[in-house]
């Protein structure tokens, strides 16, 4: 008995094609950030342009989180959570970076152009 039968090779080819398609569909390269997408529990996702310096308050489950945009970067400056992991994530300036305040339900993801990172965690 051989280790591989004819059908196995067909399945392997189909599986490789499927995995290749998942790369093509879900993967994207990197580059500088152009905009930030803010997801909050109460409202629809909101896009913040990064070319103007702003300070934005986003309502979360616990209260308002403050986002600051400056020099094409975005960061959490305050959030009503314990630990402030989102604030300690610092500035997001590369496409694909994400900072999240999970207790407050606020997620900021920067996007645009070629993405260098899939996701960045600290």
């Amino acid at each position: 008995m051989k280790l591989f039968r004819a059908g196995d090779l067909v399945v392997l080819a189909a599986a490789a094609a499927l995995v290749g398609a998942s790369w093509a569909a879900l993967w994207s390269g990197g580059g500088p950030a152009e905009f930030a997408v803010v997801t909050a529990p109460a409202a629809a996702a909101q896009t913040l342009p990064l070319d103007a310096d702003t300070v934005t308050e986003v309502a979360g489950r616990l209260g308002p989180s403050t986002l600051e945009v400056r020099d094409g970067r975005v960061r959490f400056t305050d959030s009503p959570c314990v630990g402030r992991l989102c604030v300690h994530s610092g500035w997001l300036d590369r496409s694909g970076q994400v900072a999240a305040c999970l207790p407050n339900g606020v997620v900021v993801e920067v996007g645009g152009g070629r993405r260098e990172f899939d996701a960045v965690s600290h």
Binding site: F4, G7, W23
Partner: protein, 180 residues
Amino acid sequence: MPSATERVAPTGAGRDRLIAGFAALAIAIHVLEAALPSPLPGVKPGLANVITVVVLLRWGWGIAAWVAGLRVLAGSLLVGTFLSPTFILSAGGAIAALAALWLAQRLFGRWLGAPGYSVCAALAHMGAQVLLAWQLFIPHPALLKLAPFLLTAALVFGIVSGVIAAIVLQKLAGPEPARP
């Protein structure tokens, strides 16, 4: 269409002993694997898959489903993840893998060997887990971007465990084995 290597499964107590023996083997592999460090969360070799595929090809889908189900249940009790998110992902993956195996055997059983079944099961397992994790636990699109990595790992490990299963089946295919 059952495969050429399949034997008639015993009934009654013989069937129970067969299931218990293979389930014990699968649980041992499951627990050993849980102790291995993983380079990426969610990536495991999935060697217990070898047992499922061997049992499927030798004793049929019914016994394979019992063995896989018992492995998920008893394995989670031993590792301490019973009813935790890990368990839900594990059970969802196992159900998807068994469904894929059933479908593959029904449709293409005549042409498939262990590697084909193993790859089907591995991809179904990983696909279901990613979708479940995304739907239930982390509903953020960033999780889906991990999917290509995870599916590639599933493909590689599926091939590896399929080849192992084929070798085991080859060794078993000799003379009629002693009944457990």
